[in-house]
């Protein structure tokens, strides 16, 4: 029991001392799924991207701005990175630091793409960037790039009722 307590304290200490960027969550589809199916009062804007994808990187500021403008209005932005596992340390983490990304970033590492792509949206061919906007009442999927105005326009269809 005492040992267990020690272990707990140690784990807590480790958890606290870890800088935020190093604790990037890496999911397979099963792990990611709960983030795509929440039924609380938040509207989720889920963007699928990667550091190697030029149009994705180009539109990221729009999502960051959306987070800034709407995070207190019941909106959460989740950036799902499809960077390869061997590039998380070399590309993704430095990118997050350099761009000072404020939105929540998670990594989806699941090679069985033919299985999970249609589960996210039946019509998604698999190209990125792609974005899912959803809340407990409504769901829309976009296989395209966004400007801030376009993205905000789509979001407003979810939050202005």
């Amino acid at each position: 029991m005492k040992n267990l307590l020690k272990l707990l304290v140690l784990l807590l200490a480790l958890g606290c001392s870890k800088p935020k960027n190093n604790s990037l969550a890496i999911f397979d589809y099963k792990g990611l799924q709960p983030l795509l199916e929440k039924s609380d009062n938040i509207t989720y804007v889920v963007n699928f991207w990667a550091t190697w994808c030029k149009p994705c990187v180009k539109e990221l500021p729009a999502f960051e701005k959306l987070k800034k403008e709407y995070s207190e209005k019941g909106v959460e932005v989740i950036l799902v990175s499809l960077d390869f596992p061997n590039q998380i340390e070399s590309s993704l983490k430095p990118f997050i630091r350099k761009e000072k990304l404020q939105s929540k970033v998670v990594v989806l590492d699941d090679p069985d793409q033919n299985n999970w792509i249609p589960k996210i949206n039946e019509k998604w061919s698999g190209s990125i960037p792609a974005t899912l906007i959803y809340n407990k009442d409504k769901r829309e999927f976009f296989e395209r790039s966004f400007t801030y105005e376009e993205l905000e326009g789509e979001l407003k269809k979810f939050i202005n009722k």
């Binding site: 069985d112 698999g126 190209s127 990125i128």
Partner: protein
């Protein structure tokens, strides 16, 4: 009244055209021939391949990491199936102005350095990929000759593991072409995979 009717018909026509262009070929659709410039400077059409039973058309490019991961496997597909009547035809659908590294010169270099055994065509003016409805690189379309017509038999990915060829457990393209070679219908006609969006200006 007549004018309204005309406008209505015209609108319907435009909508139909817009949707057709956006969606592109579906499995079973007849494919139109095209004429595109190969990295050797010659124009290539599907009708040039008299003895072909069909084609493995791959929309791919230089810059996309997913395309790069599949280059060796696409060469292997061509080597395996060209003799059997299903050669690979690679097409770069990207606008080089929007996608540095995907210009014709770079295509020539890449084809040479990787030793491409198949035509690597440039979709100049981006007229061919929308007809196919290709959306990403790499994006495979298997075509099959049927009573003189070329029809789409499969749309999707090469296999089920981009990152690691040795972890592949389902070879979608190989299975489909093998089925066609033995006179069967393709079982798994469509698959999905992550890829780079096709770059337009």
């Amino acid at each position: 009244m007549k004018a309204i009717k005309t406008i209505g018909v015209l609108a319907l026509f435009l909508v139909t055209v817009a949707f057709t262009i956006k969606d592109g070929y579906k499995v079973g659709d007849k494919v139109e021939d095209f004429s595109l410039k190969n990295v050797d400077g010659k124009m290539v059409s599907l009708s040039d391949f008299d003895s072909a039973k069909g084609f493995i058309v791959v929309f791919t490019c230089n810059h996309c990491p997913y395309s790069k991961m599949y280059e060796d496997r696409i060469i292997a597909l061509d080597k395996k199936y060209k003799e059997k009547g299903y050669p690979v035809i690679a097409i770069n659908p990207n606008d080089p102005k929007a996608s540095p590294g995907d210009d014709f010169e770079s295509m020539m270099e890449r084809a040479k350095s990787k030793g491409f055994t198949f035509p690597y065509l440039f979709d100049k003016g981006q007229k061919v990929y929308p007809k196919f409805g290709a959306t990403r690189t790499p994006h495979v379309f298997i075509l099959n000759k049927n009573k003189g017509d070329l029809k789409v038999a499969y749309i999707g990915a090469v296999d089920n593991n981009a990152r690691n060829a040795s972890d592949v457990s389902e070879r979608y393209v190989e299975t489909a072409v093998d089925e066609l070679l033995s006179g069967k219908e393709v079982t798994n006609k469509e698959t999905k995979a992550i890829g780079c969006s096709i770059k337009v200006q």
